[in-house]
Amino acid sequence: MTFSTGFISADWEAPEELKELILSMSFDEFTVFPSHEIQRLTSENFGPCFIVIITDGGWQNIEEAIPFLTKISNLGHEIVIFLIKGGEYADRIEYIKRTPRLKIRNVVNPEADLHGLVLSETMKTYRPFLT
């Protein structure tokens, strides 16, 4: 799923090409966290999800998004937020960081650190199953 003011997401059964194209898109608009769409996807899924969020934290609907993330993490979904430094959203970022059960990974230098941090976190979940 990619999001800006709106979002584009792929359904579970969507072809790989579509999923990869969605991840390649950029909108350069405002930042509205797509809580309802994530809610829809998690509710359609059997079992807990591993939710990877890559963002600078400048969510304009943060008052709605954080309680939502807290709620679904309490349901057993694992949420990791890669918080990229650079935006001027200190109050929103503090709100995200204060939220229990959300795993926050601060990314100070995205060029140097982001890929390694994402690899490290995803491998904790998927390494035993990788072929």
Binding site: M1, L23, P110, V118
Partner: protein
């Protein structure tokens, strides 16, 4: 749209390379399965269980140490093992707003890393 198509391949290639490098570096030898590499002569002092009767009969009548064959086994290079358990589904959520413009390429590759890791594990990722 054309640009997105090219970016897709670029992001994906970078993510795949990162995953492969990570796996190659972290790989270590474990107790392994053996694989049968090549046939060799079976001698009287060898274990009877090692005798491959079917392959030996291809050589002619069973004559010990003349037509009898066994398979030489070697461990697989890095080891293989079964993993069982619940593989969680992944939802990859990528912020592509204007404030992310400067770091968009790195963020997209990172999103592909999460997506492809899940896919390689056998899980069907959602976006």
């Amino acid at each position: 749209m054309n640009e997105i198509l090219w970016k897709r391949y670029w992001f994906k290639a970078r993510a795949q390379r990162a995953i492969i490098e990570y796996l190659a570096e972290s790989r270590r030898r474990r107790p392994v399965w053996s694989v049968m590499r090549y046939p060799d002569e079976w001698y009287i002092e060898d274990e009877i269980e090692d005798l491959d009767v079917e392959t030996s009969l291809d050589e002619g009548p069973l004559i010990p140490e003349v037509t009898t064959l066994k398979w030489i086994k070697e461990p697989t290079p890095y080891g293989q093992s079964f993993s069982s358990g619940f593989v969680p589904s992944t939802i990859t959520v990528l912020d592509v707003s204007s404030s992310m413009h400067e770091v968009h390429n790195e963020a997209a590759v990172a999103a592909f890393i999460a997506y492809l890791s899940a896919r390689r594990s056998g899980e069907t990722p959602r976006l």
